[in-house]
Amino acid sequence: MSEQKTQAAAPAASPASGGKAVVQNLLHGPAARSLGLVVALAVLFLIGAITSGDRFMSADNMLVILRYASIIGVVSVGVTFVITAGGIDLSVGSLMGLTSVVASLAVIQSAATQSTWLLMVAVGLVVGMLAGFINGVIIAYGNVVAFIATVAMLVAARGLAEIISERRTLLVTNTDFTGIMRDDILGIPVLVWIFAVVAAAGWFLLNRTTFGRRTVAIGGNIEASRLAGIKVKRHLVSLYVLAGLTAGIAGVMMMGRTTSGTSTHGLLYELDAIAAVVVGGTLLAGGRGTIMGTVLGVLIFSTLTNVFTQNNMDTSVQSLIKGAIIVTAVMLQQRFAVRKERKAKTKPVRS
């Protein structure tokens, strides 16, 4: 009897109740958790469509939103992993700056011109990962709280980037690189493709691999994970390397988008990324992470900016409204999550 009860609530995988199970999955799985976000996004679109009509709903404008979202999006995917594991990374924005500066140094660019533009990409990613590695080692083996270790990296990387660039904006002259980064494939900008690929890879990594399982486990209970034989420290390091990698990718994307490298690239992106991740439904305390939510969170913020601009809104009023919307979105999301639970409660126990 008790078996029957419990089975009813479980995502049934039996072929018999296939169709129903899919619907149930949609209603009770992580998708439901994001339902509030989808609603928020839809409302934003509605507001945009009403206030700015075709100008807002045009395909071109959608691409503007997506292109804008893509860079923050990539960083946010990396940050999702770190936060899911109960950590935090405040250095990602600063690392974007450092990455872009190093990768657009004259030496690198001339070497890239003689070989391939991929060299610039490679240098960018390596710089990001290296800095992430340092973060990870300080946190996991130096036992420094992640907040402090990555704030220190934030400050230091910005300083280093300024020194390397001599506080100038370095122009990216490698046209192969800028050409590809600013190109379209099937009508979709390369930047947006990169975001899509990173998000898909992130989703897969978090939900379908042992790496993702370890990440969630550590975020859920680090001591229990350690006692179960998971190499917690090593995993933590790899998480910060991953965040550094996404910062590196984002830095390279920024170089492509702005055709320049400067220490100011990525300024305050860490806060945007964290806000998107948390609004998306990833627990700041760790133990639950959702890439889908993060993507939605990023899209909400970039759509918001777009709607504001479409309506030629005063920047100060924008800030005021933005604050209100952040809180509302999170509350909406929570409301839906709670209702979902309540629904599950009132469902008939015996089927």
């Binding site: 292109r67 506080r167 988008r257 702005t258 601009t309 100060s316």
Partner: protein, 323 residues
Amino acid sequence: TGCSSETGGDSSQPTNASVDGNAAEGETVVIGFSGPAADHGWLGAINSAAIAAGENLGDVDLRVAEGTNDANLQISQVEQFINDDVDAIVLLPTDGAALTAVATKAMNAGIPVVNVDREFSSPAAARTTVLGDNYGMGQSAGNYICERLGDTPDAVVAEIAGVDSLPLTTERSEGFADALETCGLDVDNRVAADFTVAGGEAAASQLLAAAPEIDAIWNHDDDQGHGVLSAIDTAERDEFFMVGGAGSANAMELIKAGESVLEATVVYPSTQAADGVRLARLIAQDKAMSDLVEVEVPKRIVLNAPVVTSDNVDQYLPTAFAS
């Protein structure tokens, strides 16, 4: 009202100090310099130029405090300079009004203060003030656009401002709006960026999506302008012309080449702080400005905000800052 201290040359008039006299090394003076965080190209150039000026002058020992956007920290830096009893202070305040009190304190302690770019709220707070003309800058940009579009009263004009919370941005925008009004135009779309390349790119790409037809854009800052131009490139738009601000070397090169939408830029001298350092030295050494008959350095110097176009770009390129 403009006058640049760079203008040298022989003077046939009686003067207290000759150029040679001013250039000759005097008693070594200690000058404290404090400015906002060098978080974008123009401020970076301001800093570098000031430091370079200090290094080039053999009799100046320049102390540079950490660039900051926190008035509290900047006040403590000035306090430190006062304690150290430096010979003069060059101050580019993060906020003019906020630093007035401590600057007055320095003046009262007998340390001359050279106020650069953002003006104090009290004239007693500075021995000399070197200002870029923010209102004038907006006016120049507005006038240029009026000249170009004056005959199309329904022309769409867009503005990409810098950091909106800074008073200087407000002044620029006011000058711009006032100038446009004289020819019956107004600002149809306005966004604010943050003086950074990335910020300019982001703001401009949103702006372009919001305004499908534009006739002219004024962008306050050439450093963020690099990003603005990438956004324009991405959006494949060229139905308008653009006017820049500050006057970076990159922007001037583009104007010279004449292939982009960037037609002109309004100079906002990045040498202000360097001028400030030189003036501070003169003041500390009791010298005057060589071209003036005045026996002392003047109280207030407002730098001109000329418009650079392809016609006169060669004249300005050498003093432009590399962003």
